[in-house]
Amino acid sequence: MSREPAPQPDVLQQVGAIAKGMATVFKQTFRKDNTEQWPKQIVAPPERSHIGRHLLNKHENGLEKCIGCELCAFACPADAIWVEGADNDPENPTSPGERYAKDYQINYLRCIMCGLCVEACPTRALTLTSYFELSFTSREEAIWTKEQLLEPPPPLGTDPVDREG
């Protein structure tokens, strides 16, 4: 039941393979570096790249676009979004129509940045921004409140809080 010995490879062939592999290594070694020296150097991400935190948008008249419908929470595969709806005060509405979001939270420990929530949003209230500088030192800090999400993101590299925290 002895196995057939494997055919002996040609020595030249082996040397050629090594040379080919090393050529790739050397080519990469001397190529221009793509690494960004974040946070010392901030490179603006390409326009319309949605790779960062969410933003709750407002209408031009200052009313919130979010109507608290929870469709984002429904779409979320990571169960990262918590929404509580409530009745708008007709005298002093928060959003157009009857319903607004009394509470809105995104847990960035859960969020996987898939963007399904944005697709689900019927009022384009929720969008993703390119602000990716999310770092936390506690679980509570990772849960963004409605007030935080309504705030447009600062330019990259300028938020001192997370950096020092």
């Binding site: 109507i67 419908c69 929870e70 709806g85 009745d87 129509g97």
Partner: protein
Amino acid sequence: MSEDLVTLTIDGKEVTVPAGTLIIRAAEQLGIEIPRFCDHPMLDPVGACRQCYVQIEGQPKLFTSCTTTVAPAMVVRTQNTSDEAHTAQVANLEFLLLNHPLDCPICDRGGECPLQDQALAFGPGESRYREAKRVYEKPLHLSALVNLDRERCVLCARCTRFCDQISGDRFIELYARGASQQVAIAPGEDFRSPFSGNTVQICPVGALTATPYRFVARPFDLSTADSVCPHCSAGCNLKIDMRRGEVVRQLARDNLEVNDGWACDKGRFAFGFPDSPDRITTPLVRDHGLEPASFGEVFGRIAEWTEGKRVAFLSGGRLTDEESYALSKLARTVFATNDLDHRRHLEGGELELLWAAGLTGVTYERVERAKAIVLVGLDAEQEVPILHLRIRKAARRGAKVFVIHHRRTRLHDVATHILCRPDEVAGLLAELAAGTSAAPAGLAGAALREAGNDGVMLIGAGALDRPGAADASLAAASATGARITMVSRRANDHGALRAGVHPGLLPGGRPIAVPEDRAEVELVWGQIPNYRPGRNARQILEACARREIDVLFLVGVDPLRDFPDAALALRALRNVPRKVVQSLELGSLEPYADAFLPAAAFVEKDGHFTTWEGRSQRLKPLRPAPGIALPEWEIFASLALACGSDLGFETLEELQEELGGLVAARESVPDWPPSPAPPPMAQGLELFTYPLLVDEGRLSEGAARLKAALQEEAFVEVHPQDAAATGLAAGGRAILRTEAGQAELPVRVTEHIARGTVFVPFNQPGLAANTLLSGTFATAVTLEPAHAAAGPSGGPADAQPEEVPA
């Protein structure tokens, strides 16, 4: 059972159904789904939405399957096999959606909407309608509980048919015609029906929504579980929706044997009490003030207090069967006392014994199929609302309904009312038993006699208030051959009675004084140390007031509010050295409690509630109890251990096994001595009271919307002649004086109350009527006008009968 059967073919499949079945029902039996909006199995067919079109071979036009009955050899083709039916259904959905707003994201129905679901399943996908949609002001508040959005309405008429056919509270109606047809309510009118929430549940779109659930959650947020309503003895099956452990909505669950798929507004909307901010979830013990302690510490103290002392127990109607049983066993075997009671009314005599033994045999189905129904001292709508709906259903089927009461009830449009003073009830029942007179009582007797086995007598707590009435109704039932039962108000009065929370009855309605019956229980319990029947609730409180009791246990009951003699309850609490309160919260007992044991609420415990019929229905624990609160039976079992004894069960299963053998329906009961002759009643005015559906009861705490919609301020109701004699005017105020106290209340003058009687609701805002009572729910009263707040100046001659809102 010689029902004619009809065989027909639907989509090529044969089905045999009783003649008169609707095609849509026959299709359901085959598992064929025909889209529908207006069709509802409990409501008469109307064919309003036109969604359920099917093709019937040989017929030139399409038929609505919800209004067409089956015929022999009929060949029906639904949307599955008929292009014509399919096209018509798609077109109809497009029509229904023409004016339907794109509100789904903000609509409470979104995610559980029959229109949404069926538009997806059967609809066209796109609308060709590009014009502006019809716009209405929205939402319209029909009441503090129900909102109407006319834009979303598809005019299926389910809500209006419910009000017309089921509840009889015809507040809403379809109004105007054509494109402007809409559900409407009379201007200035409120949807003051205690069944209004059902219209919200059966609305197939989001046109009717409930304010307490408005924008609160989405279906995917909710964990839903089955439960049973804790509010009255109707035992409605509920679906309880919780969001993150908090109850946010209760819906009626279909159980055709019990609630028919309906629930009253109290059952539906008074769900806040387990989450009340006043709830206490740790044991407390009084050293200087009430301070938190461990269960072990409190049990140790109670064991010290009770050692060799005289102990008594009062409980409410909120314990499960199992907990009541544990209480009965605890009191009798560990503390050797028979001083325990859960009742508020007087002795029910032999009727109560039959009820306790499970021998009454009246069920919802019996009521529905009855040919004659007599209610005695029972305001079904206010006390057991779902039974009220069943009685109405029976009346629609042709039953003759009679109500013997002191005041007209909401059955007035389907029943003959025999209004009487409390001391006249027994006489009327004797007249009914004879069944010969041409007066209404005689007619009721004749109707019962004619109905025979299909006659039903329902005896409410109002009739048990005066000795003799229960015996007289039992005699009337046996004279006429009618079935008879008691109907109590609180959720598990019946279970407590069957489990033996009663001074003279052991589990299963076994009188403790009867040696054979006692021996049956002693087989399980061992020797019962004390077999002299104990004191009833009133006697317990009197003994407390006389300092003859050392430790009083108050289990889920607040005698200051619940017992019909507030002064006696207060004296009792002041004179008992030790009071142990076991409940969800302390409330008005806070100054008196020496120890507090936190109990689990109905959503947190396992067990059974027994309906007025005797049907045991399972409660499941839907969430863990907050803090370290425990189910009551566990508290009783641990307390027994702390007192150096043992109840003999460690798990609920062991308890249930023991209980099951003892409370199974028995074959007969021993004779019970007749009630003593009632004291003669004074000639003057007699005040009587019973609790209305929505009152200041502790289980309605936090249900602000429900109270805003249905709760009435305290009032006094008098007959016009009595009003004239005492100088009262409708709209004015009256001073009521009884032996126990006095009160000033707004006057309602109505001829729908027996002459010589005066009604005051038991526990409405403005007056806790037990401050006027001396131990029973009726008492002599004098009335005089209150002059400080003068009513209309016309004087008594102008007194107009005032319609009493239902």
